[in-house]
Assembly symmetry: C2
Homo-oligomer: 210 residues x 2
């Protein structure tokens, strides 16, 4: 992929979707896929799929389709998913604990290397194979861990403070589960996962007289 290419966010999100579907196909030993199959499996139409890939050069063969393993590995390179990425989680509550043990993350080259919390009753406790660490030490700890991806799994009221700490610890991308918008310095990328927002969108689609 050419250096410094600017990829629009919707394209990037679709690439991540393709990657997810291709990984699933790979596991099930399916060798070839057409752009029509992609449409069925992702809801993204075939023309859009081809356009998304065109940012990154030539893919597939007309009338034959795409080799699943090859396409998966090329998208994986584009998304920089080839080497294992250390990830830190802040918040050892229900959600943080669930994420720390979430199998598909481990399978996909994301490795949870530490879970932090501020609760003295949690610090030092075991969570899966990890020992919960004090968030007060995160800047120091991350000098060794070198995680660039941080997950915020704390209540909204303390999420900004946690995000500030992550930035100080040189984390440059944040997955935020707290239902609040984080203010972050330029150069730090954030993605918000807001369960309430997702349910609100579904709620709109409920039948009127259900």
């Amino acid at each position: 992929m050419p250096d410094g290419i600017k990829v629009p966010m919707p394209t990037l999100e679709r690439l991540a979707t393709y990657f997810s579907v291709l990984t699933d196909l790979k596991v099930r030993n399916i060798e070839t896929i057409s752009s029509a199959d992609i449409e069925t499996r992702t809801g993204v139409n075939a023309a859009q799929f081809r356009k998304d890939l065109s940012y990154f050069g030539e893919f597939g063969r007309p009338g034959i389709g795409y080799n699943v393993i090859e396409l998966c590995s090329r998208i994986s390179r584009i998304l920089k998913l080839e080497k294992t990425q250390p990830v830190v989680i802040v918040g050892a509550g229900n959600l943080g604990s669930a994420l720390a043990g979430y199998q598909p993350l481990r399978a996909e080259n994301f490795r949870i290397v530490a879970v932090f919390d501020s609760n003295p009753r949690k610090i030092g406790a075991q969570l899966w194979s990890l020992t919960i660490k004090d968030v007060a030490n995160i800047v120091e700890e991350n000098k060794t861990l070198k995680a660039k991806i941080g997950i915020v799994a704390v209540p909204a009221s303390v999420a900004q403070e946690v995000a500030d700490r992550l930035v100080k610890a040189k984390v440059s991308t944040i997955l935020n589960f707290a239902p609040t918008m984080l203010r972050l310095p330029e150069g730090v990328t954030v993605r918000n996962v807001d369960f309430v927002q997702e349910l609100a969108v579904l709620s709109f689609h409920l039948p009127e007289n259900g």
Copy 2:
């Protein structure tokens, strides 16, 4: 809101974001907000915000801004969030358990009324204030529960089977956490939350030599 109005999905998603931010402001007793404030807090530009609202009639006053409580309640009406929505979860693993106990859902009129699983060692066990039920009985159980929203929190390998059961149980909207695309009959709305996909998008933004 006029009947049968067709709202584009991106508009709907932004409405849900505004709702989330406004709820936060309401809790903090902030009375008025300008579209510029909305821009700062959501990243959605002020013109887009005004355009999104224009689907649903007149809002706000020029030079004064929007009354937070009023705007929040109108968006809540648009998204049909006014009455409590019963929600069922399938999957009493780490993620399902975390979602069942997730405070912000309770605060926002979504009530988890049941958690189902297929594991005999889990069925009958207590989870928060609920007793885990057998997913084999979901069609029968939902005749009483009347949930229209279902959450799929099971591994990808069994997600389709679970979704089919939910549809049989007359659930019409699904929040899917399994990293797989569900095939659903027309009229059933699905939203996918894919943690791997989210991290993959962040991964793309990592500095080259971090």
